[in-house]
Amino acid sequence: MTAEYAGPIIEMRHVDKHFGQLHVLKDINLTVEKGEVVVLIGPSGSGKSTLCRTINRLETIDSGEILFQGVKLPEEGKELAALRAEIGMVFQSFNLFAHKTILENVTMGPIEVLRKSKKEAEAEAMELLRRVGVAEQAAKVPAQLSGGQQQRVAIARSLAMHPKAMLFDEPTSALDPEMVGEVLDVMVELAKQGMTMVVVTHEMNFARRVANRVVFMADGQIVEQNTPDEFFDHPQSDRARDFLNSIKGH
C-alpha cells in the first residue's frame, strides 16, 4: 500500500457468517477511518467478537467482502500472513507464547517477519516494554506475570509490528478488577497517539471517554452506531435501551 492512501482503513460490506445453523453476522456494513477508535458493544452472543476476528481473518466469512486499506483480504498463504502483520490483535486471554521470555515474545515478530536484527528488535522491544510499564519483567516468562502485566506485554508485542490498526477482543474481560485500569490506561494512551482501534469491550467508561464512535450489536446485526455521548444518553433502539438499562447501576 502506498503511503498516500487516504480512504478508510477497514471497510466491511454486506458481511454474512454462520456457525452451523447460527447466523452470527447478518449483513454487516462498517467503515473505520484512519485514527478512529470504534468501540463494539452489545450483549454476549451478539457477534461482536466474531466481527472483530473477521477483520484479520481469524474467522472466515460466508459472503460479502472486507477491505483493509482498500484491498480485499487475501484468503490464505503469504499474502494473508503479510496482512495480519499489519493488523495488531489483542486477545481476552493474552495468548503470550508460554515458552518464551517476555522480551522474546515481543521480538519474535520483528525478527521472523520483519527480518530485523536481534539487536535492533531487542532495543525497540525494551522501549515498548518501558512504554507499557513492564520493562523490568523482560527476562521472565509469561506465567510469572500478573494478568494485567501479561496483557500489556501482548499490546507491546502487537505494537512491535508497527500495525496500521489494532483489534482488541475484550482485552480486560479476563482481568481482576484492580488490573483493568492499567491496561485501559495503555489503550487510552494509544488512542491519543492516533492509533486506529477496533475495541470489543464491556468497559462503558472507556467507550464514553475514548471512542469516536460506538457500534451497538445484537443478534448478529449492527443495531445502531453513534458518538458515545449520543449513544449512551439518547439510544435510538429498544434493544440498546434494554441493554444500557441492564448494565446500569451495577
Binding site: 503469504k78 502483520a85 515458552h99 519474535m108
Partner: protein, 219 residues
Amino acid sequence: MGVAEVFTEFGDIYLQSVLSTWLMTAVCFAGGLTLGIIITVLRVSPIKPLRTVGDVYVQLFRNIPTVSLLVIFVYALPYLGATLPYRTCLLACVILIVSAFASENFMSGINAIGVGQIEAARSVGLSFTQIIRLVVIPQSLRTTVLPMTNLLIATLLTTAMGSQVPLTPPELTGMVNYVNSRSVAGISAFVVSAICYAGTSVVLGFLGNRLDKKVRILR
C-alpha cells in the same frame, strides 16, 4: 555357570553387545523422533489428504507387532527385490514403530498449547512453517519429556527384537543365545542381560526426570 563366570568368559563380547544395544537405541530413538515430528506436522497441516496420510501412518505402525513388521522386512521385502541387511531391517522396523508412538506424544503436547497462542502467532504475521518451528515444536517437545522418556526406554527394550535375526555383534538379548549356545550358563546369561537393560532404564528415567524439571513450561 554363575553370573561372575559369564562375565569373565564373555566379558569382551558382552561389552560389545551392550554398546550395540545402546547404539541401536540411540539411532532408533533419534530416527523415530525425527520421523515422528514429520508425521505430526502432516497431521496438523491445513491440507486434508496430508492429515489423512499422517493419521493412517500412525494407526498402521502403532498397531503392528514389531515381530510381524520384522518378518515382513526380512522375508517379504526380498520378493519385491529389496534384500536389506538384518541390522537395517531391525532399525527400520523399530524406527517406524517408535515414530508412530512419538507422533501420538507430540499430538498430546500440541493439544496442551491451546488455540489462542496459535491465533496470536498468526496475528503477528508468522507463516504456518514459522508457527510450527517457533511455537508448536518447541512447546510440544518441552511438554512431552516424560512420555518421551517412556518411549526411549520402550525403544531400548524393543531392540531386543534383534535376537530374532543374526547380528554381529549380537545385542543384549541375542547375547543370551550366543552365550547359551557356547556354554551352559542357563539363567545366568539372562540375568546379566536383564541387569544391563534395567541399569540403562533406571539411568534414562532419572535423566528424563531431570530434563523435564529443567525445560517444563510454566503455565
